[in-house]
């Protein structure tokens, strides 16, 4: 039994079958990649896992509990964090403030009326936020407005915000899209390090095959909303079905 179990999920948008009978099992403490051509339904699948969309049929279980019908913040509090395809950060706030918010969410839950403490006096929270920024080599940008970060840095910030919560399942939607080669390699190293250091399960959607093959333990290939194959990376490379549906097209 995996930490994430998706069974028989269907999702239609009007006449379009975005997801058709998706079954997916992600084992704990592994990196599971989902690949597939544009429009295959990868982001839609992710949205069904985090409460953004509700599947028409099927079930999604995380750690033995259903996530369906729960709100995004409840699902996050269960231990699922998500990085978006286009970075979602608090653009009006500083990088440091961006980091502090998930730390509070982790410690205090979905709502707490702490109107009389001062953020600056929450030493444990501030130290955690700073430490994470140091780990990501972003400490010099701490006081910057996060809206003025480069696109790559915004992604890293968003990832840092998610990691700070020490989620049990981290969902990444094309985390290296639009990144320069060097930044992509940094991200790979970072994810490898996280994977080794922590008990974390990562589910990653990725276009860049270099990233996928350097990180993934398992790969699911999605095409037109349906999983084509699920296998170890070395078997995916040679699979003729995959070549036809995806790699062939990309090449």
């Amino acid at each position: 039994m995996g930490i994430l179990e998706v069974k028989g999920v269907n999702k239609r948008f009007g006449g379009l079958q975005a997801l058709g009978d998706v079954n997916l099992s992600v084992a704990e403490n592994t990196v599971h990649a989902i690949i597939g051509p544009n429009g295959a339904g990868k982001s839609t699948l992710l949205n069904c896992l985090v409460g953004k969309l509700i599947p028409d049929t099927g079930s999604v279980m995380f750690d033995g509990k259903s996530v369906l019908g729960r709100t995004p913040y409840e699902i996050n509090q269960m231990g699922i964090s998500r990085v978006f395809q286009t970075p979602e950060i608090f653009g009006d706030l500083t990088v440091f403030e961006n980091m502090v918010i998930p730390a509070f969410a982790k410690r205090d839950g979905a709502f707490r009326m702490h109107a009389f403490e001062s953020v600056a006096n929450e030493k444990d929270i501030c130290i955690r936020a700073e430490q994470m920024l140091v780990d990501l080599n972003m400490q010099d940008k701490m006081r910057m407005h996060s809206a003025s970060l480069s696109r790559g840095d915004k992604r890293r910030l968003e990832m840092a915000m998610c990691l700070l919560q020490e989620p049990r399942l981290l969902l990444l939607d094309e985390p290296t899209a639009g990144m320069a080669r060097a930044d992509t390699n940094n991200t790979i190293d970072l994810l490898k390090e996280i994977k080794e250091k922590r008990d974390i399960t990562i589910c990653i959607i990725e276009h860049d095959m270099h990233v996928v093959f350097s990180l993934a333990d398992r790969i699911t290939v999605l095409a037109q909303g349906t999983p084509l194959v699920e296998d170890a990376p070395e078997n995916i490379r040679g699979n003729p079905k995959v070549r036809e549906a995806y790699l062939g097209e990309a090449a």
């Binding site: 985090v50 709100t71 995004p72 913040y73 996050n76 509090q77 964090s81 998500r82 978006f84 979602e88 950060i89 608090f90 653009g91 009006d92 706030l93 500083t94 403030e97 502090v100 918010i101 998930p102 509070f104 969410a105 982790k106 205090d108 839950g109 979905a110 709502f111 707490r112 009326m113 702490h114 109107a115 009389f116 403490e117 001062s118 953020v119 600056a120 006096n121 929450e122 006081r143 910057m144 407005h145 003025s148 915000m161 919560q165």
Partner: protein, 407 residues
């Protein structure tokens, strides 16, 4: 100091100094000089400065931090006033229980209105609050006449019970509002040469409460709660996916700002014990929006500045009539004098709205951060000037620091 860092403590001290010294600061001109009409240091007006300051400080907690623009906050102001007057009628003329009830009742109202209105955001939220406020206004004006005394407004009478106080004074008058015997209307006038300064008990009560209200808002701005409110404004999607529920945060901000409005309404009634439905009208709700934006939404001190600015215009600028203009320009040749007065006429006296409107447009266009941004730009200009005169220019590159919410 008081859980504030150095910069915030300075801001608080400035506000305290301004509030306590207002009777001097607002009366800079000798009382018999031609400029005396620009003096704003009389009790009535000073009370309104700080009371509307409180109203705007509270409004800013909702609008400035979360970005939710309420067009119905005057409803809470009115509810506060009615509650206070009822307290004066039934309990006693002591203002403290009256103010407390104002805050509580306004708080209850804002739970209800906030809960419903916050189901939507953006323009729909604004319209919902506006609709609620208009409903309240109409209820107060007609349907709820037994409670609000309709269009006449709620007033004290000589046969109110006042169970803990007296129904009428020995001389047969309605007793005055007071704090444990200190009457709100009692004023000490100090004459210094040609100047005259009024120290009014009511003003100082309002000023102290305003300082407390400001301190509270300062703490909220710096708290994790305040940070969450700013996060609501910045990106609700991210907030949701970070495991935080934006709803209770926004509702809490709404209730707090409603209670501030109730407090302001209670104070208005404490200074002048009557309450009318017009206090709830949409123009009154619009006024606090203007105050906050003019001063600088989301800044600490902006709302107070904006409130002072608008109240000054309303009360002082509106008194400049054609006679005054003629007086000013009497040194000019007849023809020029008349032309000038003719040209200025639409902008002064009853035309003060026009001038305020133009100023508002200028500020919003050129200083989106309001008067506070204007102040910051000026001080930066001066600092740069003084740095330019330094013989050793700083060779280091200064990265642009992100603006601080306060200042």
């Amino acid at each position: 100091m008081l859980g504030l860092d150095k910069k915030d403590a300075t801001i608080l001290l400035v506000v305290i100094a301004l509030a306590l010294l207002a009777p001097f600061l607002l009366n800079p001109f000798p009382s018999n000089s031609g400029l005396a009409q620009f003096n704003a240091g009389y009790p009535d007006l000073m009370q309104r400065f700080v009371i509307f300051g409180i109203f705007a400080i509270g409004f800013n907690i909702l609008f400035g931090l979360t970005g939710y623009l309420s067009f119905g906050h005057a409803a809470f102001l009115g509810v506060g006033s009615y509650s206070a007057v009822w307290m004066f009628k039934l309990l006693s003329m002591n203002v403290l229980p009256a103010i407390l009830l104002s805050i509580v009742i306004a708080g209850l109202f804002s739970v209800l209105i906030g809960y419903v209105s916050l189901r939507r955001s953006g323009i729909y939220f604004s319209i919902l609050t506006l609709a609620f406020a208009q409903m309240s206004f109409n209820l107060a004006y007609s349907v709820l006449t037994p409670i609000t005394n309709g269009e006449t407004g709620l007033q004290l009478t000589l046969d109110d019970p006042r169970v803990l106080g007296q129904t009428a004074t020995a001389s047969g008058n309605i007793p005055a509002t007071n704090v444990f015997g200190l009457e709100m209307r009692s004023t000490y006038t100090m004459d210094v040469g040609a100047w005259s300064f009024d120290f009014n008990a009511g003003y100082y009560l309002c000023a102290i409460i305003m300082i407390l209200a400001f301190y509270l808002s300062l703490r909220i701005f710096r708290s994790p709660f305040g940070l969450m409110l700013r996060a609501v404004k910045s990106n609700q999607q991210r907030l949701n996916y970070t495991g935080l529920n934006p709803k209770p945060y926004t509702l809490a901000a709404f209730i707090i700002s409603g209670m501030y409005a109730g407090l302001a309404g209670g104070l208005l009634a404490s200074m002048d014990p009557l309450a009318g439905a017009e206090r709830m009208q949409w123009t009154a709700s619009g006024e606090v929006v203007l105050m906050t934006i003019l001063g600088g939404a989301g800044t600490l001190i902006g709302p107070v500045l904006g409130a002072g600015f608008i109240k000054y215009f309303e009360n002082i600028f509106s008194k400049i009539n054609d006679n005054v203009l003629h007086q000013w320009f009497s040194f000019l040749p007849e023809g020029m004098e008349d032309t000038l007065v003719f040209l200025l006429h639409p902008f002064v006296g009853k035309g003060w709205h026009l001038t305020l409107g133009i100023l508002f447009m200028l500020v919003v266009t050129f200083l989106p951060g309001g008067l506070v941004e204007g102040g910051q730009r000026l001080s930066r200009l001066f600092r740069r000037r003084s740095r330019d005169t330094d013989t050793t220019p700083d060779p280091e590159h200064h990265p642009k620091e992100s603006p601080h919410v306060a200042e």
